[in-house]
C-alpha cells in the first residue's frame, strides 16, 4: 500500500535547498545555524540527513517538551526516525502525546515500538494512534521515502533480547526459554527480509531501525550482566546478511552512541539519555553520488515506486 509521508517530498528536489528554497536564513541568531545547512556543497555529492531519537518515554506530563526541537526539523533533516520506547506505559493516552509532539515535524516520521510501548498490551492501538498521525510504524516491514530524487529505505522491527556472540541464550530446553529466543530469531528474520525488500526496491540508502541493540559496542556503560536483555547478535547478523548503510537503535540508556557490526555497518544508539539532545543528526552519502552501497545491478533491476513513500510487505509480516 502507499501512504504519504508527513510532508510530501518532491522527487528531484536538490538537498542544497530547503523546502521553501530560502536556505538557512530563518535563523535569527547571528551567523548561520550549522545544522541548518541542508547538504554538502563541497563537491562530495548528495547526502541524506537523518534525525533520530529513541526512548523519549512520553506521557501527559511531558506534552510539548520535544515539540519546539521537532518543529525545526525541515531545515535540518529529510526524515525523523523514532527508535522505540516512545511512551512510558504503552497506553493510547501516551501515544496521543507522541502524535502531538511530532505533529509539526514537517518531515516523514518512521518509528518502531519499544518494550515500554508494549507494556499495557495496547500496542495495536498505540500503533493506530501513531499511524493516524502520519507516522509510519514498522514491525517487520519497510518504507521507501523519496529524498532529492533518490530512494531512502528504512526497515524496522522492535527486535528482542538474547545476548551477544559467546554470551547468548540458546533455543534449547524449557518451552519458555525456546519461546524467548525464538521471538528474537523471528524478529531478526523479518528484519533481514525487510532490508532485502529495500535492496530490491533500488534504495540508494538503507537504514535498519530497531529498539533493541544489534551489537554490544553501543551498550558500553551498561552493566555487563544485563547485556543479554538489551539486544541480540541475531539482529546484527540479519543486518550484515541483508546489507544496510546505517543501523539505529535505542533501549540502552547507559550505553554509548557509536558502534559497528562485524560486517562493518555503523550502529548508532540514539536513546535520548545517550545522545543528550532532542535528536541526533546523521548525514549519509547517497549511493551513486560517489559512494556505492547498493550494487548497480540491483538498483537498475528495481521496480519503480510511487514518490510519496511506500510501505513494503507490512501486512504479510506483522502476523
Amino acid at each position: 500500500m502507499t501512504r504519504p509521508p508527513t510532508t510530501p517530498d518532491t522527487p528531484g528536489r536538490p538537498l542544497t535547498t530547503t523546502p521553501d528554497g530560502a536556505g538557512p536564513a530563518h535563523d535569527p541568531a547571528p551567523g548561520p545555524d550549522p545544522t541548518s545547512e541542508t547538504a554538502r556543497s563541497d563537491g562530495h555529492g548528495t547526502v541524506v540527513r537523518v534525525a533520530a531519537v529513541g526512548d523519549i518515554h512520553l506521557g501527559p506530563d511531558c506534552a510539548g517538551v520535544l515539540r519546539p526541537a521537532f518543529a525545526g526539523l525541515p531545515d535540518r533533516a529529510d526524515l525523523l526516525l523514532l527508535a522505540g520506547d516512545l511512551t512510558r506505559h504503552g497506553t493510547v493516552e501516551e501515544a496521543r502525546v507522541v502524535a502531538e509532539e511530532v505533529a509539526d515535524a514537517g518531515v516523514p516520521v518512521v518509528a518502531v515500538l519499544g518494550n515500554h510501548d508494549y507494556h499495557s498490551g495496547e500496542e495495536a492501538a498505540v500503533t493506530q494512534v501513531l499511524t493516524d498521525a502520519g507516522i509510519t510504524v514498522l514491525e517487520g516491514d519497510a518504507v521507501v521515502l523519496p529524498v532529492a530524487g533518490h530512494k531512502v529505505g528504512v526497515a524496522g522491527v522492535k527486535g528482542f533480547c538474547g545476548g551477544f556472540v559467546g554470551r547468548s541464550a540458546g533455543e534449547f530446553g524449557e518451552p519458555e526459554m525456546k519461546a524467548f529466543v525464538r521471538t528474537t530469531r523471528l524478529s531478526a528474520e523479518r528484519l533481514a527480509l525487510a532490508l532485502g525488500d529495500l535492496s530490491a526496491a533500488g534504495c540508494a540508502v538503507r537504514i535498519a531501525l530497531t529498539h533493541f541493540a544489534p551489537v554490544p559496542d553501543t551498550l558500553a556503560g551498561e552493566p555487563l550482566e544485563i547485556h543479554p536483555f538489551l539486544g541480540s547478535y541475531l539482529l546484527a547478523e540479519a543486518i550484515d546478511g541483508a546489507g544496510a548503510d546505517l543501523a539505529v537503535h535505542g533501549h540502552a540508556h547507559l550505553g554509548t552512541e557509536h558502534g559497528m557490526t562485524a560486517g562493518g555497518v555503523r550502529v548508532r544508539n540514539v536513546a535520548q539519555p545517550v545522545i543528550g539532545r532532542a535528536f541526533a543528526l546523521y548525514r549519509l552519502p547517497v549511493a551513486g553520488d560517489g559512494t556505492a552501497s547498493v550494487p548497480e545491478a540491483v538498483r537498475t533491476a528495481a521496480p519503480a515506486h510511487a514518490p510519496g513513500g511506500e510501505l513494503i510487505s507490512g501486512a504479510v509480516r506483522r502476523s
Partner: protein, 87 residues
C-alpha cells in the same frame, strides 16, 4: 528462623525500590540504584523534573532511615548543534 542483620535488610529494601521503579505506575527502567557505604545513590536520566521528584519521593519512602543521594538528570530537549558525517 533466620534473623537478618541490618545490611542484609537494606539490600532487600534496595531491591524492592528497584522493583517499584520498574513497576506499572512508575515504569522508570533507566534509573540506577546503588548502595554506597551507608547511603544509597540514584543516578540516570528522566524525561521531566516532576518524574525526578516522584522517584525521589518513592526512594525516600522505601528507604526510610537510609541516606538517599540522587544525581538524576532531566533529559535535554534541545535540538542538536552539530551533525555527524557518515562517509
Amino acid at each position: 528462623m533466620i534473623e537478618f542483620t541490618a545490611p542484609h535488610e537494606d539490600e532487600y529494601r534496595i531491591a524492592r525500590l528497584r522493583e517499584r521503579l520498574a513497576a506499572d505506575d512508575v515504569a522508570e527502567l533507566g534509573v540506577q540504584v546503588e548502595q554506597r557505604g551507608t547511603s544509597v545513590l540514584l543516578t540516570g536520566t528522566v524525561p521531566t523534573a516532576s518524574r525526578r521528584d516522584e522517584i525521589l519521593r518513592l526512594a525516600r519512602e522505601e528507604l526510610a532511615g537510609l541516606t538517599v543521594r540522587a544525581d538524576l538528570v532531566v533529559a535535554c530537549a534541545d535540538a542538536p548543534d552539530r551533525w555527524e558525517e557518515l562517509p
